[in-house]
Amino acid sequence: MAVLLTRKSRVIVQGITGHQGQFHTRAMLDFGTKVVAGVTPGKGGQKVEGVPVFDAVDEAVRRKRANASIVFVPAAFAKDAVIEAVEAGIRLIAVITERIPFHDALEFQPYARTKDVTVIGPNCPGLASPGQAKMGIMPNQIFKPGDVGVISRSGTLTYEIVNAISEAGFGQSTCIGIGGDPIIGTNMVEALALFQKDRSTRKIVVVGEIGGTGEEDAAAFIAKNVTKPVVAYVAGRTAPPGKRMGHAGAIIQGGKGTAESKVTAFNDAGVRVAQYPVEVASLLAAT
């Protein structure tokens, strides 16, 4: 078992004919993902890595019974891509694209929610359920099937930590890269709720960073609702206020969103917080 994404998921790739789309279609197929179609307007009829390309999402849904989509299209067209997928009946959408205007996200995120569609991201590495499927850009080789659920706002830092926990002998049920943007489709609390419910997940790792109050909300939720052990890491302890640290959402504003506040919130909720990224693995072993 896993959350959101399983071996049964029928995945399409929006923006499959681009460099990233093509490269990661290959990697997702290698991971075992059922990539049933690609969509690029105007490129219908082609094949990419043996996967048929359609002009529109509804065609891919009709012909290939697709129910999940990974979005690689450029930022200016991402809103269009997400809403097209929602309207076509896709249930799970991972938006990899970065630098999407905030006001576009303010439109498509609530829209997807009113239709009960789960969006992961944007500005995220996607999600992976080892041994089953991957809808994302994470490197395949770092994963191992197992019972740790991973939630992270970051990309490479997640790979670093997942790699460390795999090397320490743990595996993952599902790893969700929720994204580094201010307005994300699935937040930490929602991801925690999924893992708390999932019977194949026994421990949870949360990788946070400065900016916003997602970690503080997560800590409050854990204290009330999560019975499984949680280990956390928070990046940006030395980040200066008022500066965007790479991710659009990683910014301390008006004294809010500091690493200190997040670490304290986690500690108060009984969550052990690693000082060093790879220390997450040893803390997991100790829980």
Partner: protein
């Protein structure tokens, strides 16, 4: 994208939000016909200019020039005042607060208002702030304005003006892709006008392409940060002496944190992103070297990014720049052995873990080997 007050007020005007009459000047001599009596206001992108003495009254032309001479060139929050705005002085009856911002948790826009304006909204008592979420898909419905009006407790004619301003501010917030539109104070004058006393506007950088008319405006960046921005590199200049470069924003932040735990201080945050294009790596390194670090700490986790191509880029950059800065590199991932060999060949210090790399970077930055 941040806007100086006078620039923000130009945009406010375009949307029909009333603002005081004013003129902008870069030298005292530029000032010929200020609206008198006036306030002379330092134009900076950081807060706290009032406390720093950057906002002062003047009654006549000579006085205005004199005050401007004192304010121009002042340092406020680390930035030099290059322009002043001379603005009609308002007869203030009452100061209000009004803003539209993005609420990350709610994934909606947020209207905030208060009958207690003029002070920092963070320091306002929570129960004196009116807050209403506005879902952008449907926009503000009439109930929002009814509740906003009621919260102010003002007579009908001034309340009408305030609601009209709020509607226009929302219109601006949406059409200009704003992260923040803030009017503090929103002034009620003794003669019954409602007018934007100050104007704060932040437009989403991701939406820059939709607003080419604002390209090239001064931002609160250092010259190196400006150069990085033009090249599309995520870069922040910090006050330490070790240049930190990594791939991915989270990993770069984490590397800085580890360095700090090992007793070092980062001088740069440089996120290489997902690239392994040697040209791009070289470009990033050139930028890093311009920050004149005592040592460089490179941390790459190559999942998709190939470690050896990153190493080739590093080698190219160092050769082009004839740099003699010691570089500690921790490279993990695809082709890491090849990468380590390339780096060793050019005299770098390879490390196995981030912790080791950080310790080594601290050592070599002190000149030890």
């Amino acid at each position: 994208m941040k806007f100086l007050e006078y620039k923000a007020k130009e945009i406010f005007s375009r949307y029909g939000i009333p603002v005081p009459r004013g003129i902008v000047a870069s030298t005292p001599e530029d000032i010929t016909n200020p609206p008198l009596p006036c306030m002379v206001k330092a134009q900076v992108l950081v807060g706290g200019r009032g406390r720093a003495g950057g906002v002062r009254p003047a009654n006549g032309l000579d006085e205005a020039r004199g005050v401007a001479r004192q304010i121009l060139g002042m340092a406020i929050g680390g930035y030099t005042v290059k322009q002043v705005y001379l603005e009609e002085r308002l007869d203030i009856e009452k100061e209000l607060y009004l803003s539209f911002a993005i609420d990350r948790s709610a994934r909606e826009s947020l209207l905030m208002a208060s009958a207690m304006g003029g002070i920092d909204v963070e320091s306002l008592p929570r129960d004196r702030i009116f807050m209403e979420h506005v879902p952008v898909l449907v926009g503000p419905q009439p109930y929002v304005w009814r509740a906003f009006r009621a919260s102010l407790g003002l007579p009908k004619d001034v309340a009408d003006q305030a609601v009209d301003i709020a509607r226009k501010a929302y219109d601006l917030f949406r059409k200009e892709d704003a992260e923040l539109v803030e009017i503090n104070p929103l002034v009620l004058t003794k003669d019954g006008r409602v007018i934007a006393g100050d104007a704060k506007l932040v437009i989403d950088d991701n939406a820059e392409y939709r607003h080419p008319e604002y390209a090239g405006l001064d931002q609160d960046r250092t010259p190196l940060e400006e150069e990085a921005h033009e090249k599309g590199i995520a870069f922040v200049q910090l006050d330490g002496d070790i240049g930190v470069i990594a791939n991915g924003a989270g990993l770069t932040m984490a590397t800085l944190d580890v360095l700090n735990l090992k007793g070092g201080r980062g001088g740069t945050f440089l996120d290489l992103g997902g690239t392994d294009d040697p040209g791009k790596v070289a470009e990033a390194f050139e930028l890093l070297l311009k920050a004149k670090p005592a040592a460089i700490l490179l941390n790459i986790f190559g999942g998709i990014t190939k470690a050896d191509t990153v190493a080739v880029g590093v080698k190219q950059a160092l050769e082009v720049m004839h740099a003699s800065v010691p570089v500690v590199a921790r490279i993990k991932g695809v082709n890491e052995d090849k990468a380590k060999q390339i780096l060793r060949d050019i005299g770098m210090y390879p490390a196995e873990t981030i912790e080791q790399a950080a310790e080594l970077a601290v050592k070599v930055s002190h000149g030890a080997r």
